[in-house]
Amino acid sequence: MSRPTPLHEVHKSLGATLTDFAGWLMPLRYGSESAEHTAVRTAAGLFDLSHMGEIYVTGPGAADALDHALVGNLGGLEPGRARYTMMCDADGGIVDDLIVYRLAADEFMVCANASNYLKVAAELTDRAKNHDAVVDDRSDSYALLAVQGPNSPEILAQLTDADLPGLKYYTGLPGTVAGVEALIARTGYTGEDGFELFVQADDAVKLWHALMEAGASHGLVPAGLSARDTLRLEAGMPLYGNELTSATTPMDAGLGRVVRFDKPGDFVGRAALSALETEKRLVGLVMKGRRVPRHGFAVVDAEGTVIGEVTSGAPSPSIGRPIAMAYVTSTPAAVDIRGSHEPVDVVDLPFYRRKK
């Protein structure tokens, strides 16, 4: 039985189509997912992301513990800043991709994927055991609401005194939103400007209604996981379970920059990752036709030989044609869609970049 989020009754009253996702009962869409997607690109969307994991790492040794446990340089992160990073296995395979928020010198919050947070919490606990740090999985007590889209700053500004203009991309600060205590982070997974608001589960419904009211005149609509998936795909952002798996390294995914070999000390996966030669690469495909490539479909070269596999695919509302990310070992010419080789254009990622 999938777990409802603290906003379950809100979703039901909005008539959401619900779906099981990583053990949670999540809103897939409220109406038209394409309309939700477009709203986020042109106005704003409100997402319930309460399935995500929030794991605190605190104590004088917290930074050292994270530098050992993760591939990024978290000791080098200023308080108030956030960083995209990964946890890898000793063999270099990806355990999860994460955003780590440094809340204070000795306090970090690790935001993990719903499908992985129990494993991440267990691994962090294990990897921190020789450090003066405490790992505390607080996922159950947190809800996460995201306001994403170009209108999100003016919507949020109505509800908080926090210095939003001073809150740059990939920073986070504690504040009050609609009378609710929140960690206000300028992060997201849509390719748009926006905010993620980490709040106590009991405050989620109150905050949702306040945001919807403040956003009513700014085009804010509730948006589900379906729109979130097409938004992140257009933005070229990887998804764990698709582009990222335990059989994939950060280098495979074109994210070698997150592995900080220059940081002091050993970290889990360092030896394997530094010796690595990657053969596959992640590419962007735009279909010439209208049939949609899906996760697991074969990618073929000009001779029709299989050279890789689609990891994510969807119709792209912004581009108007189906798009996909795929791992390949040479130059793709087509995707095998139910037996028919449908031709592709190979493009640089991301597919979509917002205007600054």
Binding site: S32, E33, R290, V292, A314
Partner: protein, 129 residues
């Protein structure tokens, strides 16, 4: 609750059939329930006009953001017309599944006897949802 018009016949695979009464040419589409389950339809592939089909054949597909479904022929016969408008604008399947979103017309050979009434189809979808 999606609409299930009285005057149509239905299949378990969520197609509707109109015009059985005159016994010659019928119109086929997918139901509002199917359209809502699929989400935004982005691509419709239909059989060629002139093709001969048998009831139960997979004759096309309807693709949405998240999934793809086969279209099964509810009746046998010859395809006499396809809805090029819905090929060009697949969102009509969502906005008007029983009207502008029709898919194709078939000149039928005999009357099929295994189609569902609106009440039987309502029972089926109530059990699925």
């Amino acid at each position: 609750m999606s609409s299930i018009p009285d005057e149509l016949s239905y299949t378990k695979e969520h197609e509707w059939v109109a015009g059985l009464d005159d016994g010659l040419t019928v119109t086929v589409g997918i139901t509002a329930y199917a359209a809502e389950s699929l989400g935004d339809v982005v691509y419709v592939q239909l059989p060629e006009a002139g093709a001969t089909i048998e009831a139960g054949d997979a004759v096309g597909e309807v693709e949405s953001t998240k999934s793809v479904s086969d279209i099964y022929a509810p009746v046998g016969g010859e395809i006499v017309e396809i809805n090029q408008t819905v090929v060009d604008d697949p969102s009509l399947v969502n906005s008007d599944p029983y009207g502008e979103g029709w898919l194709f017309r078939v000149r039928i050979e005999g009357t099929p006897d295994d189609l569902l009434t609106n009440e039987e189809y309502a029972t089926l979808t109530a059990a699925e949802s």
